[in-house]
Amino acid sequence: MGVVTVWGVVTAVFLALHAVPGGPASVILQGGAGGGEVNPAAVAALEKELGLDRPLFVQYVTYLGDLLTGDLGDSIKYSAPVSEIIAAPFGNTAILVVIAIVIGCLVGISFGVLSGNWPGSVLDRVLSGLLSVAVSTPGFVIAIFLSLFIGMRLGWFPSLGYQPPEDGFGPFLYHAFLPSLALSFGFLALVGRVTRTSILSVRREDWVRTARGMGLSRSRVFRRHVFRNAINPVVTVSGLQLGGLLGATVLVEQVFNWPGVGSTLLNAINGRDYPLVQGIVIVFAVVFILTNLLVDLMYRFLDPRVEG
């Protein structure tokens, strides 16, 4: 099934990209702002060299064939294998996403637990309010504000930029913090809200009463019978949210000038680097499908009722 989805994604991207006005050759030859005139002869020569003069169908079949052998093709702009080019940006983005998930889970779950355990209290209202604001604020708005205020005004963290992890993991993380935080907001809020709802509904379940009826302490009832049961939907929802997180990186990376896959993708689309765009989108799709699978497996692992 996953294969079919990937195939569909590949086909959709391929067709969409090739239908987009503007080809890679003229972009490469022109090179962006301040660039000069493009010689049509040179464009034709470059297109021939890149194989873009062949019929679309032939290009498609060739691409699919290469894909089957695990070859994502060569980037037009960098004239190097796509897999090589996207490795580093994906790594950088993965770091942001992982940190965002860690922050999101830790903070989101704590918020959700606190407000779910004392529904209607002042604490609950404050936290729920914060969560609704966070869930509603677009990532790039948060990114702009974090960068301008925490980064520039207060100077606590670098307002932008990137240090390669080879130059020390500390500085790398130091630079990654604000973008991750910006990325984590929406996710955090979602986790918080799902946790809250889930805890609220589990608290009403009969087995919680059974546990109380056994004379267990409040904290034990919470840990073993409320929290443990409430966490399943949180896992599901956060897993499914990974796609959204990946999408959100595009804007956040733009604001923080983080050399991740989002900015690579943006540049690749602007530069009409077909194989690169295709490669990135395929990896996105595969990641999405794999996470779904993982969530399924997790769910089975976490909930014995789901048939294995």
């Binding site: 099934m1 079919v4 989805t5 990937v6 569909g8 994604v9 959709a12 991207v13 969409a16 990209l17 239908a19 987009v20 609704s132 604001v133 869930v135 509603s136 604020t137 677009p138 990532g139 790039f140 708005v141 702009i144 504000f145 301008l148 990325l183 907001f185 929406g186 996710f187 809020a189 979602l190 799902v194 709802t197 889930s198 509904s201 939907p233 599901t236 929802v237 499914l240 949210q241 796609g243 959204g244 997180l245 990946l246 999408g247 959100a248 595009v250 804007l251 733009q254 993708l265 943006l266 689309i269 989108v281 996105f284 799709a285 999405f288 499908i289």
Partner: protein, 304 residues
Amino acid sequence: MKSTVRSLWSRSTPGLAVTTCAMFLVLCFIFIYPLVTSVNPLTQDIENAFAPIGTPGHVLGTDNLGRDTLARLVLGLRTEILVCAAGTLLAAVVGTLVGILAAYFRGLSDLLMMRAVDIVLAFPNLVFAMLIVALYGAGDLTVVAVCAMAFFPNFARLTYGEVLSLRRALYVESAELFGGTRLQVIRGPLLRGVGPLVLAQAFLTLAFAVGLESGLSFLGLGITPPSPSLGLMIATGQQYFMQSPWQLLIPSIVLVVLLVALGYVADWVRDLLDPRGVTRVRRGARTGFAQRRNGMSFGQGAGA
């Protein structure tokens, strides 16, 4: 539908009533203000660029081309809401149709349609949007199309799951038994059954759509200038942040408030439609709803 609305109204809280009224007033303001004001949001007055807040004639100041920020905000909001609502509506109609048909007829149509949904879901929204924009050029209609295509899977998934369980519900089975044709069953109990959920989802999606549109506009791929949109105003405001921070703050605050309000209404609609509230139902239905609810509503979108 009428009963849904009625029961919703009867169970509203004061906070909610205030929000709803406020939203309604703001909506009225947005649509009436352009009719009564003489300030044209597109009129440029370069000499007067970056007028600060409180400048006579420009309550909220002016932007880089000396255009009135308040007028642009109002027009921007209106465009934003109209465009996103149109996109959401389209997404809701297409998604609901796909979800119902796939779940009701199963078989091949199920396989094809839900696969298509999976494919769209496998693209992050923004990537998807960027491709479509690159394809058709930026503009209002493109934004509508982007919202429709990016968000129809949310509706499809939601209605799909719901119809899968609804079609096993006794009252739907009886509708078939009592001689309902498939079309009648779809138009009748199935559509009525998913209606409230779709409604709740629509509010949420509207919020997502506004978020997506402003993100696109921020990248210059959304609504075409000079007609303003919140995202465009934020993007421009960011450029001139050092000179005139309010030009960034004002549209950002408005955007966040709009999204929070939409989310609030969506939550409210969803909570009130929880059958636990409406009637005392059996436990089976209850767990069913809980599962559905976790599957619903979020999709992608938050944070995008």
